[in-house]
Structure formats: C-alpha cells, structure tokens
Amino acid sequence: MKEKKAVILIVEDEGIQAMGLEETLEQAGYSVAGVSDNGLDVLEFVRTGDIDLIVMDIHIKGDLDGIQTARKVQEIKPNMPIIYLTAYVDPETTRRAEDTSPAAYITKPYRQVTLLSCVANALQRPEIEG
C-alpha cells in the first residue's frame, strides 16, 4: 500500500523562495498543496483542503501576518502543525510566535537539512486529544 504523501502548504510572498521551498519539499517526497502569500488564502486552504502541515513565513501580504494567521488556523484546526520559516529574529516576534506553540521556528537563511528534519518531526508528532 502506497503511503500517502503528507500535504504541505507553503505560505511565502517571495516567489523565488516559494519556488525553492516547493522544490525542496517535493524532492524530499512531500506533496505541496500550494503557495499562498496572504493569511485569508491560507484559511481558505485549511477549511477546504486536506493540509497536514503549514510552512509559514511571518512577513506576508495582507492584514494578517504569519503569527496571526497561525492563530486563526488553530481556531479551525487546533492540531495543525505549523513551522515558521522567517527572517525575523527579534525577541518580540519570537515571543509572539512561541505563544502559538509552533512545531518549529526556523530563521533564514536556512539549511535544507534543517527544514526537512523539522518537517519530518512535525509530521510524526502524535495528535493531541482535545
């Protein structure tokens, strides 16, 4: 029986970086559900799609940043693993991000191996019974 590929949503407003992420994840055997550059599209994806993990940039287009989008996603799907992939390293942003209990917080520039190991780890996390 073919193991179902985990479906990952990429949230990144930099097109080239999104392309790079998509290629990295696909080459690692993951399925990329799509690339979104704003919080509202993410919520639509989460409501309608079958997403296993979200790789979220914090600085994105629209009124919601990545952290706010993550909170909204957790209202819909509390167990959704979210990995932050961002250039922001300031304490305030990291504190806000930590409040959403992400699966990982990776700062750019990132190493592919770091990203892939965090993704694998997040996908193996048991579901928390609510």
């Binding site: 930099e14 097109g15 080239i16 999104a18 392309m19 550059d37």
Partner: protein
C-alpha cells in the same frame, strides 16, 4: 397765514434754544460773584466807598445792607463785599477783635466761593489790624498774601494799595526799631508805588495815602520841606474825595512840619483839628495816636494842662482798646483761622492722598499682577525654550541617527552588492571548471540573475534614499550587463530604453529587474539567432499602473510554452515574479515577441 405763524414760532424756538445753549454756566457764576452787580448793589457799593474814608458808622449800616442784598440774591460777591465792609467799619471804629473776626469770615467765604477780587482788600484790613497792634510779622505776612492774590487777579488798584501797605509796615517797623535804613527803604517802596499810582487818573484816590506816608517818612528823616510838599498834595486830594481819615493823617504830618519849624501854635492847631475829625469819625485809635502826638508837642512847651489832657485821653483810649490783649487775641484769631484753613487743606490733601493711595495700591496691585504674569510668562518662556532646546537636541540626535542609519543602509547595500558579486565570481569560477556546455550555460544564467540583483543594491548604495531604486539607471545598466555577457555591443544592437518611472521601491524594482533580466536573456538566447538587425525595446511607464513592455524582433516565443512552461524555469520565474507583483501579463507574437505587464502601484510607492 398759518404757515407764517409756524415759521415765526419755529424761528423763536431756535433763538430760544440758541440762547439756552450759549448761556455759559460761567456767566451765571459771574452774576453770582457780582461781576455784573445789579443797580441797587452798585449804588450801595458807591456809598460804602465814600463812607470808608470818613464815616465808619454809616459804613457799618451800608455794609449790612450789602450783605443782606447778597444773601437775598444769592450773590456771593456781594455777601463777601458786605463782610469786608463790616470788617473795615469795625476796624475804623476801633473794634479790632470784631474786625478781625469779620475779616477772617470774609476771607474764608471769598476763598470758598472763589470771589478772588475781594481777597487783596481783606488781607489789607487784616494787615492793618496787625500793624496797629505793632505785630509787624503778621502784618507783613498778610500783605504778602494780599499781594499774591492781587497779582493773580491782575488787580492793579489792589497792587498799588498793597505796595503802600508794605511800605507803610516797613516804615512802622523801622520807626519801632529806630532803623533808619528800613525807613529809607520804605521811602523807596512808597516812591515806586507812587509812580504806578500817578500813571493813571483811575488811581488818583489812592494817591492821598501815598502822599501822607511819604510826608511821614520825610518828617522822620527830618526833611520838613519835602514833607510839606507831599502833605499839601495829600490835603488837596483828601478834601477832593472827602477822605476825612486821610485828612487826619495829613494834618498830623503838617503839624509835625510846623513843630519842626518851631511853629507850635499851628502845629497844635492842626493836631486838634485832626483830633476833632477823629472824634467825629469815632475812630478811637486815631484819636489815641493824635492825643499822643499832642501830648508830645505840648509837654515841652510847658503847657502842662493841655499836655496832661492829651496824655490822659491817650491813656484812657489805649486802656479802653485793651491793646495788648487785643494783639494776642487778634493774632490768635488769624492763627486759628489759618490753622483751621490748614486743617481743611490737610483734610482735603488727606482725602486726595487717600484716593491717590488707593490708586497707588491699585496701581501696585496691577504692577504686582503684571510682574507675576511677567514672571510666569518668563518662566513659561524658559520652559518652552528649554523644551525647544531639548527638542532641538533630540531632533539633532534623530537626524544624526537617521544619517547614521542611512550610512549603515548604504554600507549594507554595498556589502550585499559585494557579497552577491562574490557569489557571482564563485559561480563564474565554478563554471570555468565545468566541461558540459549546458552546465556552463546554466551557471552563466545564474550568474546573470545574481548580477541583476547586485545592480539593485548598487543603485541603492549610490543614492541618498536607501529604499528607492533609480529605474532608468538600473535598467540601463542591467541591459548593458546582459548584452556584455552575451558579447553583444552597440555596434550590433542599440537597445531602445525608455524608463519614465524615476524611482521605485526595492520590493517592486527587484522583481521587475529579474523579469527584465529573464526576458531579455531569453531574447538574446533564442530571439536573435538568425536576425541580422536585432532590435530590443524596454519601456517602463507609470500611469494608473506601471506598464512594463519588452519587445524584440525575433521569431517569437512559443505561446504554448508561455501558457504551460513545463521545464522552462525562466518562464516559470517570470510568472512567479509577476504573481508576486500581482501583475497582469500578456504575451503576444507579431514580428517578434511582446511582453506587456500591468503592475499595480502599491500605496506606499514613492515613484515620481
């Protein structure tokens, strides 16, 4: 008819109104002050002047009439004149104490009602009263006050009278002190006054007194001829104007002249004649004086009987007049009056002072408030100035920090540019070690993309605005860089570059630069292979949106490939970047390939 009547009435009304308006209050006051004395008063005044010189009893009656008339008509001048005449009458009748009381009352009323024309004459009476009691200090003081009042009123008649008064006092005092210099001075004063009095017939009445006084001086100086000269003139005028009191003086000095010439008989005769007139005039004071002269004249002659009679009369009158006591009382009366006047003045001054003090207090309060306000405003000003200074310092710090940031940003862009250049070099170096041409080409393409990004940072580094890219400079340099990388120079192709957008934010400039880089690289790779005269046009304009147009004259792109890029990373990249810009792309093929992108302008873009 009716109209004429109305006109007349109207005219009369105007006249009445005019009269009413033009009747000044000063005129009413002047009537009250007796400037325009009614006929009856004028008659009474004339009688009084006649009686002054001779009939003090009659003067007393007329004075009462004048005062009554003044009270009835509310004529202040008449009231004061009446009081003055009463004082004068009492003086002539020897009631010195009463005379002083009346004179002080008249003076008080004159000052109160501003009937200033009476004041010199009143002071003349007062001065004479003092002089007759040998109180010369008070006499001179009164004469001075009278003179000041006369000068203020420009009353020449009064001035003449007061000059004579002062001269007379000087003579009297000189005689008392046996000071011949003073007596000489009094003669000079008399002669000065005489000049003025003789200057006009208007003052003729007053010459009698001058002649008598001058005669007296010459008697004292033992110059009987000169004394006779003046006494004769005095007698003529005294008879002319019925100045009987003056006549007694004239006779007195005439008798002295006779005595000097050893003519006792005539001397005595004239003294007795003077005595008789004084008795008729009921002037005990003059009677007393003449009795003394008579006694002094008769005693050396051995006529002791008449000498004793004269002496007895002198003592009796003197005692009856109670001279010494009167001196003190009369003096006290005036002092009391002056003291009361001073008290009134002090009270008035005190009231004025109180008002002024209140004004001063208010002024001080105002000044105080002003000072407090000023201090407060000064304080506020200093606070504001201090705050401004702090703001200035802070602004300066901010500006400095801003400048530092700019410098840092520039430095950052510089380093990024250099780092990208390093990466490009590394790729180039790596590429040179590759054998596979495809691999080499891929490296070169990657190198060019990095160059496209590096040029953005180069532009940011070169300008003051570290967030904005000079698009004209950037696109031109980019196109040149691409052409050089393909070994194409201007001898083969002159690109048409029209960049009407001056500056763009880096977030838009970078993707546009990468799109331009991809598309032109694609053109150079594929479009110009078999084109003899290659053409390239890059246009970037701003209207409601940014419009990017890239046109070449190659064979044209495969539109299916554009729709479905497949493995074409370049087309994928263009689409991804277009999506990043929210741009609308349209590719057409018509004697070449035309890419048209419509890129919405972000709100924060400062493109100009």
């Amino acid at each position: 008819m009716q109209n004429s009547l109305n006109s007349i009435l109207l005219a009369l009304s105007f006249v009445y109104l005019y009269t009413l308006i033009s009747c000044k209050p000063e005129e009413a006051q002047a009537v009250s002050q007796g400037k325009y004395a009614p006929a009856r008063l004028s008659v009474l005044y004339s009688k009084a002047e006649e009686y002054i010189a001779s009939w003090p009893d009659s003067l007393l009656i007329v004075a009462e009439q004048i005062k009554r008339e003044g009270l009835r008509a509310n004529n202040k001048q008449a009231i004061v004149r009446g009081e003055r005449y009463l004082a004068q009458a009492k003086w002539r009748l020897g009631s010195h104490k009463e005379a002083m009381k009346l004179a002080i009352k008249a003076l008080s009323d004159a000052e109160k009602w501003k009937t200033v024309s009476e004041i010199p004459d009143i002071y003349t009476i007062i001065g004479n009263l003092h002089k007759e009691k040998a109180n010369y200090d008070m006499a001179f003081a009164s004469a001075d006050k009278g003179m000041r009042a006369a000068q203020m009123n420009q009353d020449t008649m009064a001035i003449i009278g007061l000059i004579r008064l002062k001269a007379m006092f000087t003579q009297g005092l000189g005689s008392q002190k046996k000071d011949t210099a003073m007596i000489h001075r009094s003669l000079d004063m008399h002669l000065e006054g005489l000049k003025i009095a003789e200057s006009s017939p208007r003052f003729e009445r007053q010459l009698t007194g001058y002649y008598n006084n001058i005669a007296q001086v010459y008697v004292k100086r033992d110059e009987p001829e000169k004394a006779l000269f003046y006494v004769k003139k005095a007698i003529i005028l005294a008879n002319k104007y019925r100045q009987r009191l003056s006549l007694t003086y004239s006779y007195t000095w005439l008798s002295q002249v006779y005595f000097k010439n050893n003519d006792i008989e005539n001397g005595t005769r004239y003294l007795q004649e003077a005595l008789r007139i004084c008795h008729e005039l009921k002037n005990p004071f003059r009677e007393m004086e003449i009795s003394r002269y008579l006694y002094q004249a008769l005693e050396p002659t051995g006529d002791y009987k008449h000498a004793l009679e004269a002496y007895t009369r002198f003592i009796q009158i003197r005692d009856s007049l109670r001279v010494l006591e009167n001196v003190r009382q009369i003096g006290e009366l005036e002092i009391q009056y002056e003291a009361e006047k001073k008290d009134q003045q002090i009270s008035a001054l005190a009231a004025v002072n109180e008002v002024k003090s209140r004004e001063i207090i208010w002024a001080l309060v105002g000044v105080g408030v002003f000072v407090i306000l000023s201090v407060f405003m000064l304080f506020q000003y200093r606070i504001i100035t201090h705050s401004n200074r702090i703001l200035e310092v802070n602004n300066q710090k901010i500006n400095e920090q801003s400048e530092k940031l700019k410098v840092l940003m520039k430095e950052l862009h510089h380093r990024v540019k250099n780092n990208l250049q390093t990466v490009s070099n590394l790729l180039s170096l790596q590429s040179s070690r590759l054998v596979d041409e495809d691999a080499k080409q891929s490296m070169k393409t990657g190198q060019q993309r990095i160059e496209a990004m590096s040029l953005v940072h180069k532009s940011l580094y070169s300008h003051d605005n570290v967030n904005m890219v000079d698009m004209n400079e950037y696109v031109t340099n980019l196109v040149e860089s691409i052409m050089q990388s393909f070994g194409i120079y201007e001898d083969k192709l002159i690109p048409h570059i029209n960049i009407e957008v001056k500056m763009l934010d880096i977030d838009i400039a970078m993707p546009i630069g990468l799109i331009v880089n991809e598309w032109i690289t694609n053109s150079f790779k594929h479009a110009y292979k078999n084109v003899e005269d290659p053409k390239l046009s890059v246009i970037l304009v701003e209207k409601d949106k940014l419009y990017l147009e890239i046109v070449d004259n190659g064979p044209g792109i495969d539109l299916q490939k554009w729709e479905k890029p497949g493995n074409s990373f370049g087309i994928k990249l263009v689409k991804v970047l277009a999506r990043q810009l929210d741009a609308n792309c349209r590719v057409t093929v018509d004697n070449g390939t035309r890419l048209l992108m419509q890129i919405p302008l972000p709100k924060h873009n400062a493109a100009t």
